[in-house]
Structures are given as structure tokens and as C-alpha cells.
């Protein structure tokens, strides 16, 4: 069993217009990790934000040091930021999360706890089990979420309760393997990762997470999103 000190967690943060949220997320992450004594690095992958996010990232690098903050500029279609960011990750575990404070960072160390507990290949945050949940969602959004999840469970029987959540911890080799195999983008990409992981026999642990509606900035769940979700779901249904 590897000594605690030899392990490192790389956090991949794709950003777009997150100049307000970014310092908070980084601060919360840094504090959580140092409090639990886990070695970490944060890789900020920016999609050419026009609001000065990159400048904020540059300043953060100065504050925390360039072994802790790695900045990348990458103009990407949704989902492929991770592939790019992963090339620079030096940790043996990789955390994927949102930079808009919708994922409650306190739970980061719970991940490491859960991962150690079951030696899981993947630890997935779920909003639908335990005391996981959401805050700031109106009834319509909750209904769509539950409905979509129900459909997903019926069609794909994935063995995980939250497929579209994007707060997860992966072993580095597992993530690399999955990246090679996954072809979709956006929400569907997250779903495909779990489905393929099941197929390849990886173990998945679940941790309840709280999804708090954006502190700063806007969220999007329009008709387009729903349509592309359905298309993706059906594609996965027919191809996996």
C-alpha cells in the first residue's frame, strides 16, 4: 500500500467566465487539502474567457506557487478540456469538478476517505442518495432532473445513481483509459464515462454531494440541453 505522502491529487478545473468564483474555489480547495494533509495541484483550463479569468488565474499562481497551480488556455468543445488538462496532471488521482462553486468543496476529503475505504477506481458524487441534494432549484428543474435520471436508470441500468453529476474522483490510469474510449460531449460525456467504467469492470463508490446553485454567474438548462441529453442517452442506449 502506497504511503499517504506519495499520493497526490490533481484537480481539473475547466473554466469559462469564472473570475469571481475562481479565487474562492481555489482557496476552498487549498484549505481543504492542506487541512487533511493531502498533496495536491489545481489545473485551471480556461476556454478563452473574455472576463479576465486568465488574469485571475495568473495571480493565483503567484500566490500559491506554480507547483500548486497550473494554468492552461485551451479553446475546447465541452468535455475535451479534461483530456488536455490530464496531460499535465502529475497526481495519481484526478478530481473533476465545476469551478462555479456549485460543488461543495468541503466534500473533497470525503472523497479521499471513501476512496481509501473501498479502494475504488472511481468515486462519484451523487445528488440523489444519502443526504446528497440540491439547493436553489425550482420544482421544474428538479422534475426534469429526476425524470431524466429515471429514464437513464431504466434504459441504461448503470449501477450508479447520478450519471450526469460532474464531481468525481478517478484514479489517473482509469481516467486515461476511459478518455480513450468515450466519444460524447457535455452531459452525455459524464454519463458515458460511468457506463464505460462499468463495462470495463472498474469499481465505483458513491458519495452524497450537495449541488448548490451558482453563487455568481448564470446556469443553463434550456430546451436545447434537454434535446441533446435525450439524443445522447439514446445513442448510449444503442451503442453500449
Amino acid at each position: 500500500m502506497a504511503a499517504r505522502g506519495a499520493e497526490r491529487v490533481s484537480v481539473l478545473l475547466p473554466t469559462y467566465n469564472e473570475r469571481d468564483n475562481l479565487p474562492l474555489v481555489v482557496w476552498l480547495l487549498a484549505r481543504t487539502f492542506t487541512d487533511s494533509g493531502i498533496d495536491f495541484e489545481i489545473i485551471i483550463i480556461d476556454d478563452g474567457s473574455p472576463d479576465g479569468t486568465q488574469e485571475v488565474a495568473r495571480q493565483l499562481e503567484k500566490i500559491y506557487g506554480s507547483d500548486k497551480i497550473v494554468r492552461k488556455l485551451f479553446l475546447f468543445p465541452s468535455g475535451t478540456a479534461y483530456i488536455h488538462g490530464m496531460k499535465y496532471a502529475t497526481g495519481n488521482f484526478i478530481v473533476i469538478m465545476d469551478a462555479d462553486l456549485s460543488h461543495h468543496v468541503r466534500l473533497d476529503f470525503m472523497y479521499c476517505g471513501k476512496q481509501k475505504e473501498g479502494n475504488f477506481d472511481i468515486v462519484s458524487g451523487t445528488r440523489y442518495k444519502g443526504n446528497g441534494g440540491v439547493y436553489g432549484w425550482d420544482l421544474k428543474r428538479k422534475l426534469i432532473s429526476r425524470g431524466a435520471n429515471f429514464l437513464t436508470q431504466v434504459l441504461l441500468r448503470p449501477g450508479a445513481s447520478d450519471l450526469t453529476g460532474s464531481f468525481r474522483l478517478y484514479r489517473k490510469e482509469v481516467l486515461q483509459k476511459l478518455m480513450e474510449k468515450c466519444v460524447s460531449k457535455g452531459y452525455v460525456f459524464q454519463m458515458e464515462m460511468i457506463v464505460r467504467a462499468r463495462q470495463l469492470g472498474y469499481t465505483i463508490g458513491e458519495v452524497p454531494i450537495s449541488f448548490v446553485d451558482r453563487v455568481y454567474g448564470e446556469s443553463k438548462l434550456g430546451g436545447n440541453e434537454i434535446v441533446s441529453f435525450l439524443k445522447g442517452l439514446l445513442t448510449l442506449f444503442a451503442t453500449t
Binding site: 440540491v134 435520471n149 442506449f237
Partner: protein, 78 residues
Amino acid sequence: MTKLGQWLCGLALLGSAWAALALAPPGLQPPAPLRQALLPLPVYLLVAFGCYSLATVGYRLATFNDCEEAAAELQGHI
């Protein structure tokens, strides 16, 4: 096999079993009461599944946690 493949196989299996029993030629028909129940069975199952879906989604919708403390804690941290 893909999920779609599994569904098609399952449906084909159940479908042929149902057709064999419910639409059999006069010589091989099962007793009348059984046939009467069998014929509308697919529709019943569909409706039952529909009700189950509505109930499940409704239940899950109602029990969808609102994490007030998490939000408050987050604000506190900030």
C-alpha cells in the same frame, strides 16, 4: 450486447411467448379464462409501467433534498 440489443431480445422473447399463447390456432388454445386475461396483458403492463414511472419520479421529486445547511455553510466559508 448493447442495451438496445438486450431490450430487443427481451421483447422478442416475451412477445413470441405471448403471441404463441394468445393467438394460437383453435386446436392448441389454452382455456378461455386464461386467454381472456392474456390478450390485453401487454397493454396492462404498459399502463402499469407508466404508473410506476409517475409514482417513482413523483416520490423522488418530493424527497429531493434541499441542502439548506450546505448552502449556508458555503456562504460561511466564503
